[in-house]
Amino acid sequence: MPSTREERVDDALQSLLERLIPPQFEDEAEALADQRWDEANELARDLIDREPEASIADDVQHAADSIKRRLLKDTRNPERAAAFGGLYSRLLAQPVLGQKWGILYFLDRVGEGENDGGRVGRVEGGRRVQGSGDGGEGGQEEVFDEAFARHGLPRVPQGLESPRQVPLRERAVPGRPKMQAQTPEVEVVGEQEPSSGKVEPSEAALLRDLPFTLQGLSSTNLAFSDKSSLTLPTSLPVPLIALLHALAEPSLLYRSLSDFVESSDGGLVGQSLRSAIGQELRSYLGLVATLEGQIRRALAQLDESLPRGGLGKAGVTLKRCVVWTREATLGLRLMSTIVESAKGKKGGELISLIHNLATSHGDTFVYVFAERLLSNITRPFYNMLRAWVYDGELEDPYTEFFVSSNPDFEDSGATSVWEHKYLLQEGMIPSIVTSDFAQRVYLIGKSLNFIRYGCHDGAWVESYSKDTSRELKYGDTANLSQSIDEAYKTVMARLIYLMETKFALAAHLSALKKYLLLGQGDFIALLMESLASNLDRPANSQYRHTLTAQLEHAIRNSNAQFDSSDVLRRLDARMLELSHGEIGWDVFTLEYRIDSPLDVIVSPWASKQYLKIFNFLWRVKRVEFALSTTWRRVQTGARGVLSAVGDKVGEDWKAARLGLAGMVHFVNQLQYYILFEVIEASWEGLQKTIASPASGTVTLDTLIEAHTAYLRSITRKGLLGGAGGVDFTAQLHELLKLMLSYRDVVDGLYSFSVAEFTRRQELAAKIENRTRAGRWGVAESEDLTMSESPLFPGPNRGTKGGADSPLPPLLLPLTTTTGAEGEKSMLDSLRQRLISLETDFKTRVNVLLGDLAYQPDVDMRFLGVVMNFNGVYAPVRRRRQQPQQQHHHHQQVARSERSAVGKEKVGEGKE
């Protein structure tokens, strides 16, 4: 049946009263009982009507906590607190009650009231509260007892020293300030004064001032004498002073913190820290406001007649305020510690600092607090991260991000954009992200930037950022790492795609190989043929247009013409810097122009390496070409011309052919080794790395590394690098020079033979003529003249021979011997030169083979073996200290014996 609230209240109240008030006693008059009943009723009505609203905030948690605290205080039965915890949770689960907090609060008060009424236990409990906080204050317990006594203080300690200033202290760990302990020790024993329990200024006045103090404002009794100290009135008893100390702490902290919040320096993260702390301070102010409400209400109820103004009953005392502000004080202490240690830090360091507090501090309060701060503070950081990861732009006005732009950066092309424009600052990486993550982020941003500026693909970057950009925030680690991974993959894939399609990286790399590393054989052969005669001339008579024309000719007539025009455009013939006395061969080089952004991968260093390799290969090719032309001439000549002069120079020709064959073999092996074993193998390696690198994703960095490794291995294995102190390059150059000189000598021998043949031919023709003319044989005089060789123009011959002969000036003898002696000496000199050159060659090859055999690289050893497959050389391990000549001398003397022994040595070496 519906009943109004009033009625229900009435009913319940009546029943309650029935229960609480014992019914009529035996020997009590009925009237008295009735009177009692009426009194009780009146009282109840009165109280209920007077205060319709509760004065404490209706927080279930708060009520439960206060109950728990009280239970915990009561250490005689500690399990009560645990039991209460269980019951409380069960209660919360019940759907029935609407005013749980009310019930709990009511029970709390009733329980408290029960425990009240002069029991010593309460005072004990109270004392314990103070004692647990204040360490070494056991001896002052009497003082506190008196302070808590409800009937005023028996004595007032006098003569306290100058007002206690509360200096601001450095606190590493939030803990009770030491000053607290000192104050009670200053207690002045003696001088007892009968007191009425009133202290000046009264507790009520202090309470009235308290809200202002807590906000850091000066008030009548508690003035702030300067920025960081609070003046306490002198005429207060020690315990009150102690309480005021406790209350002074949050006030001072609040003051300094609000100063900090007002200040403005440091970067974005600093500002966000300020705002977070400001928020905390605002909630602190809310607490102060509540406190103020409480105080005001309590003060309004002051009953002057009761001791101490009846504050105790009103529910608000200084002590209670201390307890209520305790948690806030902890928070303020923590904040001021943070602010202290945050001075001078910014960006990632600041975040690391607070994150450290959040993760590795033992105190629950601390890390919950730090978590709260973190979500605020990391906002600018995440903004910067977002801009960097999705746009490739660095929005960092205070250099707080861990990627910083390099102040020395000059915009000189794509390479430097990639390498130097941005740096990763390790120190600024906050501890909320791992360093691996930071690396990835760095790469992503760099690549985006590179795509935008180096590859001029800004449009893609725009669309990408629009599509995928999303909000990043703290605490969302799974999402964050996932989005970073996605971004990483996308950006890298895009970059590689660009490299390969828009800039045709693969095409250019293979073009480099074909032209600079002599991969396109037919083109190179044609080029060499057409240039050969040109390049024999001195360097300063070379003209670029002739070289270019020859180049064009070679391209057009070989398979190179089918390459894309872009590739062919970049190919160029050039002359290096020339110095005196050089011939064309030394200054010629091909060139392949690479522009950005490919020059990130084919860096200037790489281009130089390519040129070096080209130079070397070109030389080898030249020697091969020269030797093979000579050999061809010799072979064809052997059938005709040379057989005719076999009697005279046959031996020489045999030796020369052998030597030639050996050299040709050597050069061929060398070339094969370099072109196929070294270059092709490294090329394979490069292709494989580009297609699927070991680290999983192909990034620009992996490409650069792979390419550099490719070039390095070519230089090292191609005997160009200085591997372990053994200088192959010099040896090879010597050998090549030797081979060229040998070829020249053979050429000389050839011309000599041809001349001889011609002479004999002429002689034969003359004889023929004379035979026909009827004269037999040759006249003595004529014979003599006829024995002049065309090489030595005698007095009656014109200067026919010399200028036309292709012999280099070296081989013309210095003496002007004529006739047969001259010829013979020429032949001798030729022969001698042949022999010496060949011996020299053999020696050097031995040394080279000796070095090769001890190389760590399998392929180089293989080269040594292949060159010496028939054991004709005896590889020698050169010892550095011994001079070369001695060695050669030994070599020459003992060559024949060695060759037999050497075969076994090489055999062992092979195994």
């Binding site: 609230r5 229900r8 209240v9 319940a12 109240l13 029943s15 309650l16 009263l17 229960r19 609480l20 008030i21 014992p22 006693f25 020997d27 009590e28 009692r36 009194e39 009780a40 009282l43 109840a44 109280l47 209920i48 007077r50 205060e51 319709p52 609203e53 509760a54 004065s55 404490i56 109950i67 009280r70 239970l71 009560r80 039991a83 209460f84 019951l87 409380y88 069960r90 209660l91 019940q94 759907p95 029935v96 009650l97 609407g98 005013q99 009310g102 019930i103 709990l104 609060y105 009511f106 029970l107 709390d108 008060r109 009733v110 329980g111 009231g113 029960e114 425990n115 009240d116």
Partner: protein
């Protein structure tokens, strides 16, 4: 079925009262189930719990005074 709903409500109410009774025992309030339930209903109806607590305590104090008086008078 309303009956079942009522039943469950009653069961829940009984449970709640039990829990509250245990809590009140822990807190030493000397309130029995009956008065406790009246107090609960009072508070649920909007009475200020602080005031109610005061009422309870006042009444108890009064009772004691009367007891003391009576004891005094009886002893005399």
């Amino acid at each position: 079925m309303p009956a079942a709903a009522d039943d469950s409500k009653r069961k829940a109410a009984r449970e709640t009262i039990d829990i509250l009774h245990d809590i009140s025992i822990l807190l030493n309030t000397h309130l029995d189930r009956q008065p406790l339930s009246y107090c609960v209903s009072l508070i649920e109806n909007g009475v200020n719990p602080e005031a109610l607590a005061k009422v309870v305590m006042e009444l108890r104090a009064q009772n004691e005074r009367y007891e003391a008086e009576r004891a005094g008078t009886v002893a005399r």
